[in-house]
Symmetry: C2
Amino acid sequence: MKIFSAILILLTASTINYKDMTANPPGSEIPIKYKEIAEKIINRARADSMAWERLAYMCDTFGPRLSGSAGLEKALDWIYGEMLKDGFANVRKEPVMVPHWQSGKEYCRMTSPRWQDFPMLSLGGSIATPPEGIEAPVLVVDNKEELFKRAGEAKGRIVVFNNQWDGYGKTVQYRTRGAQWAAKAGAVASLIRSVSPIGMKVPHTGMMRYDDSIPKIPHAAITAEDVAMLKRMQKRGQSPVLKLYMEAKMLPDAQSYNVMGEIRGTELPDEIVAIGGHIDSWHTGLGAHDDGGGCIATWEVVKLLNELGLKPRRTVRAVMWTNEENGVRGGKAYAEAHKDEKHHLLFEFDSGIFPPKAIRYTGPEQTYNILQHIEPLLQMVNDSMKVTKGGWGVDIRPLADLNKIPIMSIGTEDKGRYFWYHHAPTDTPDKVDPKLLNDCIAVIAIAVYIYADMP
Amino acid sequence: MKIFSAILILLTASTINYKDMTANPPGSEIPIKYKEIAEKIINRARADSMAWERLAYMCDTFGPRLSGSAGLEKALDWIYGEMLKDGFANVRKEPVMVPHWQSGKEYCRMTSPRWQDFPMLSLGGSIATPPEGIEAPVLVVDNKEELFKRAGEAKGRIVVFNNQWDGYGKTVQYRTRGAQWAAKAGAVASLIRSVSPIGMKVPHTGMMRYDDSIPKIPHAAITAEDVAMLKRMQKRGQSPVLKLYMEAKMLPDAQSYNVMGEIRGTELPDEIVAIGGHIDSWHTGLGAHDDGGGCIATWEVVKLLNELGLKPRRTVRAVMWTNEENGVRGGKAYAEAHKDEKHHLLFEFDSGIFPPKAIRYTGPEQTYNILQHIEPLLQMVNDSMKVTKGGWGVDIRPLADLNKIPIMSIGTEDKGRYFWYHHAPTDTPDKVDPKLLNDCIAVIAIAVYIYADMP
């Protein structure tokens, strides 16, 4: 019996071996090979809420992190010090000159038919009003088509866009281009309905753009509630008049930095897997979801691998890119400074801290097929995890485009909530669930470790 | 066969007749007797969105309606004029002297470890800070028990209550009594976490009270987010310091009014069914749910009955009570002015405009049993409508208590949403669904008409 058993085992073993080398597709060994490591990662990621504590500390202590602000630079210095304490290799601050736009004092007040102050936020890049402000009757339009039709009525007025939420991609055009459309029609300023699916008297800011061939006018966001009221008043013939005051200005470029640190690869240390988020935020809220959470999560992945002594073949580098929101100077500077390095993968997390649902990949089909074998391990974190196509990231794009580097990102299931907080005073650490942050960390750590460890 | 059939019909008819007059409980005729009328009411109530238009017009045009404000008095004058246009009988403004508390200019700013302005609202009845404001370190406590334990640390500090939402009744105690508890412990001012289940950087105001035996200190509400941050900072030893500035003051009583109008009863015109809501609001938001909607709905009930020529036996009077929020002077004045009239029922709607789920009644058991027979008619509006016990209303209580008058109110299914908007800038007409307002009107009109028409 003993001999028979031994022969059976040998036969079985040799069969498996044979299959591995021939019939089994590349990567099919992953679920078994990395199971124990994935378990270690998940247990460590879920062991405490230190990642969230770090996020909350950064948000609370340094405040908003707009490019050019003291808050951003203090946060970067703190990260630099913490990465050293974490025992990362090659911790460094790489200089980046960033646009320095400031919002300054501002208000929006209805002065007729009665007085009411409206919460408002100037949009990133907007010019100021004249020092005495702008007081003018409004023209509310539901969309740009209505503005073009009624262009004759816009002259000398403040155009108010009643842009209903229709998904971010469509709605955000009113933020980025609304001032151009309104100025073309002769408006003296333009206001948008904040780009969000919910109105809770919360204004949402974000980037806007001018066209040099069209006069520049001040451009700001007010709340869904106040736009709705202005529209009702206009319909009734109550002719609302607004006073808009904004000190927004563009100063000379300011000094900022990309901050990074790494764990060196065991076999191919010069091949880099760079993972990160953007450390800058808007001038409102505390940038907890956008993108403090993405920064902390990716940084924490490197810290976790380091603490567990999990060193993959290649180097894994956490990068906190600066100035994503209004310039992408961090992403561009990283591409320029690191174009001669060999990057194996670029990973960005900038979609809000919610239940992880997908690892998204843009790269060679062969590698994508291998990555499918990570799915069972990712599903140890969250049953519904998938590996899909469509990796993206604003800060990793410049280097990815330049050197044709594969891209990976994480998809989260926000159920529309992300845009409750996006670019708004409501983007605060209490909106981030420590457990979901840990789950995101676990998923990224598994995917990135295996990718960085590939033969 | 023909004769047999005729006899059978006669026999059947006489059986039914006999049962109606003897065995059938009182009110069992209601579902058939009033079916056509209920249908008429529902069709008319749902015919357009004019009720909502009226609500939005009032909110937009006159703004917040705090007792003592021009906004409230302008709204009352407008209602008076509209009730005349609606063809109501005995339209009148009955004078009521109301408390005149004003919030004035105010701000709350964290000045250490960094600057951040906090959205805030002074609480109704609070005193001002000294003209230079109050700048003091904070003591954050989770509840009053923690404050009492740590009373030694409160002296000279701004006490911040981190009162988590635990239903309105429990949580609101921090708003009404927080200043007393904090002052007793030696605090220089007190702040509460806004009384709401949701934090969207929205402050919620409301009534507070002093105890004459305890020093008075300024008392205000800040947002859930900012209280959470202060608590985290305290835990980390970051010792946050706040600067609080408030101009809140109590002026001499101001002139206000209860406004009312009616349709006279056909048989018992001197017996009154008074239905209404409170027309005053806080100094923030537009008082759309609280209680503009209740006012418009009950007023609209009388208008609808009048337009349909549905005159019940008794008089139905719509009353817009003033000063519910900070004094109940309107309800008390109504009781005093009308105590010699015979009131058959008092009805108040002050629970927000959401799907109607119940007509609530407090009165004789016999009448309650009769009212059960209205249920099938109410269910023509909403399947799940019930007639239950537990009618209530702050403004109708004084007269109900004085003359033992039955009370009725409407229960709505808000799923927690009411307190997203309650006493906050977010209480605006866009939060009120025109269709649900119509359904509330239909339900109230059916219940009130039948009640006013009872033998």
